[in-house]
Symmetry: D2
Subunit: 304 residues, 4 copies
């Protein structure tokens, strides 16, 4: 299997030059675009790794999966989706013009920035508590107590996060989010700056594939139904406004992050963690997409 | 099984009064909202029916699945998706304002009206030939040579179809569709007026589930990969701007029509045809949605 | 005075190269971009001409002033503005996306294409009659019975007018326009193809400046209040989404056409007709704008 | 003259019940809707007053005229309009969705909130200095050194101003505004809370009518050309997305405020200050509009 992974990595390496590392904050702009790492973990607990699987990167938007999970655990599905819709959108991840149209009532889904900020706002606790509870949940899911956040990247995100700030204040004005906006944003910026590696991400994927259970654990961390909710939303919205094409070409529920990570989950089968910083125009890892396409075909992982 | 179906039908019958029959043309407005029919067909060829499964209804937007299939058969995936995107949208099925925004290049997906008109425009042949080839394909898939279209409904659609006309002329102006707009629309209105029953629809679902093969047939009607494309697009966009919530609550690739039909396909397992005319605000059968939710749980059909 | 006009023409001639002749139909694309003509007519009947004042050009969107006038004469102000709003818009002349937003009820104003099509639809009579009545009104206002339309340009407009067709069908669907869409469009395309020269346009300007009276005529062609309505709308919307800047820089109620014409009216003082085919990005004559700026300053014509 | 004013006031008093006092902050919601005051001041220095002309009210959006004036005085016209456009819009005063569309570069005009925040950002000095300089300018124009701001209303505006905050952060993100967003907003909220009476407003109108000179003053406060710029912009955009209809029905350059004030200027003739708190759906004083219509007819003040 690891040979297959290595072959697929090399086959897609040329794509590095077709993408562009995120450059809206210095710490991301400095990422090495040549890093390509992947890790698979299946339901038997087998772990397969290749490339730069051990490099750390910030989780960024992949954290939206966790904040949604925690928001549902804290409030129930119905209350969460009163404040954010389930619907995929053909707009970019940081678009929010629709919220200012007269008939608008809530962000389209929890995988775009506006919807993810809503999810974070719904996590119980103060800004600090929201973040700590989310970090704690990630540590439990990954069985990795060392996971923490990158202070420099958090501060950079906070410093340059005026568009997220704009949408948060608009939603505050609309009554979609409650509480202190800056504290919510603080928690949101921190969650994006959590540092992980490919194995951590693969374990999150496996946790979802295993219906919200850590493999071989006796206790469930949350209602198993939450895995269906999140897997469905990852399928329709996880790759931003490329989710439709990704579903056709790859067919595996996935969520990307702007640092180049991809979380993928094959229901009842496998979790996948991928990392390569160069992005396409939608904000997804361009090499990651190429690898996922090949992996899906090679291992027949498409759900369609 | 048929007992289960009947129980689920009765459990959801109260929803009839929460929906509203389509009333934009007289022939649809006269539909009996109390009809509830369902038909399942599995890979072993077993057929299970309940309720008003033998009532005829017009296929309406379910035909978008067939026109997309034929457009891809005629042109290949790449050429089709140069003219219509793969992306789900949070806008209603007949919205097209985005096409008139400065950065717009094509409709979001082939399951909304604008995208479906593009697909029809790409089917080879004159307006008349486009329709005949599409009708012929449906007859082959359903093994039902008696299927034809309802002349009265076709003429009504044509007469009141000015919004579809508007989007078609805009797309002609943008270079997205070529050829005679009225001929393309004529074919489009006719395809919407094709009359089917629940078994016909179930067979379309099974054809997709069976990777584009009529069950027990030796010849494939088209490249099996087309089933993945269409199943993925049904999942992300098949229930209009309710597709995201439907994916969470039902988890079965489906396509609805405004006459109350629902086509559902469970990959490698089953095709489902449903019919109940009362619609929700999105244009989907409201009883059909209730039944699909229960069916998905009862038979564990969700792909997530 | 004619020396002043000639000086201003020469001062602005360099702008020819900064603009671009309309090229959406061949007959317009062939226009000579070096033609610059102007004609002023004051309340004493003095006529001042300079440059290529005797060249004929199609009236294009300047006809929107006449169709609005006739629609009000036929229906009264209230009925007309039930179907089209008074409001200037920051969108281009052929934009109509807002009409497809959920809260939309009518086009913003009668100087953009959608609103002008509404005005034409409200002129009494069949398509043929609408046009003949409008042509007749222009002949009376200009005292020029020889004015007619350019058949080739009319047919080209009709042939390539799919975007206008799109907005007309959408408005038909919304109940904003009634009757046969193609007949209304036919009249609209013909009115745009009416051929005039600078004196004709200056006389229209003077007619408005003189409160809807042909100079020295004893009979009024319409209610004098209509001149205020139209002059106000020309001020807020006459130069498309450049009207705001034009009001600041020129300060004279004006209406432009895509063939390069500009109609200007100085209330109680003067009518101006201008012609130079090269356009700016908004669809206004780029040389014409330069000349109007200088003329406004030189003759102190700004209303502000 | 004062008899005329009183007659017009009484004629329009019934409109009080057709409007609604602004209620987004408590201090405004408590306004007495029955107050109707008016003050005219002509170029000879004659002052005519009627009704509740001596009641104080907050200037609100009328301050946008002053902040634009000061921004131009500080930066020149060109630099200001690099950051905010001249164009009227058919969107409400607090709409900003267009700023988030891909092709957007700046707010439509300085009379909507987004554009006014840009103007405030361009006033030289820190947040505190911006405000003090603006207050000082108003004191000079009105020759009223006692004018100050209402602390309670300022704090309420600040507390509930999340939509303004949202657009400011978006514009910061887009590079349209620079500097500390909260300091700019602070100045903006304070300028809206400046308290004036009808005479103060009439004097601002007269200052503009007199080409930026305080009547009988020997020194000009700014370039006289600024009066044309502002008068033109008030005409095309001063009454929000009702400016087009207002131009047709009233024809006097005006600017309204949400506390019920209207500033009007008749070029070279007169300044008008009006006050009545009940608003129409656009945010303009509903009685004020009725009075302006009658006044324009009675005194033949329309510029069209």
């Amino acid at each position: 299997m690891e040979n297959i992974l290595e072959t697929i990595i090399e086959k897609n390496r040329y794509l590095v030059n077709k993408g562009k590392v995120a450059d809206y904050i210095p710490a991301l702009a400095e990422a090495n675009p040549n890093y390509i790492g992947i890790c698979l973990m299946d339901m038997e607990g087998n772990i397969y790794k290749a490339g730069d699987y051990d490099k750390k990167f910030t989780i960024q938007s992949i954290s939206k999966v966790i904040s949604l999970m925690l928001a549902i655990m804290d409030n129930g599905e119905e209350k969460v989706f009163n404040k954010v819709d389930y619907e995929p959108t053909d707009e970019p991840f940081n678009s929010f013009y629709k919220l200012d149209l007269p008939h608008s009532i809530k962000p389209s889904n929890p995988m775009i920035n506006a919807g993810a900020i809503v999810a974070t706002s719904l996590i119980k606790g103060s800004g600090e508590e929201k973040f700590n509870r989310l970090l704690n949940l990630i540590r439990k899911i990954t069985e990795n107590p060392n996971i923490t956040y990158n202070e420099e990247i958090y501060l950079s995100e906070k410093d340059t996060g005026d568009k997220n700030r704009a949408m948060a204040y608009l939603m505050k004005n609309m009554g979609i989010i409650e509480g202190n906006v800056e504290a919510i944003l603080d928690s949101y910026f921190k969650q994006c700056a959590i540092e992980v590696d490919c194995l951590d991400i693969a374990k999150i994927g496996l946790f979802l594939a295993n219906r919200c259970r850590v493999l071989n654990s006796e206790t469930s961390l949350c209602d198993e139904n939450i895995s269906s909710i999140i897997t469905a939303i990852m399928t329709t919205s996880g790759m931003y406004n490329f989710s439709g094409e990704y579903a056709v070409k790859v067919g595996i529920p996935s969520k990307s992050g702007v640092a180049g990570g991809i979380l993928a989950t094959v229901p009842k089968k496998m979790g996948i963690g991928l990392f390569c910083p160069a992005l396409d125009q939608y904000g997804n890892s361009i090499v990651g997409y190429g690898i996922m396409k090949d992996l899906s075909k090679e291992l027949k992982l498409s759900i369609f």
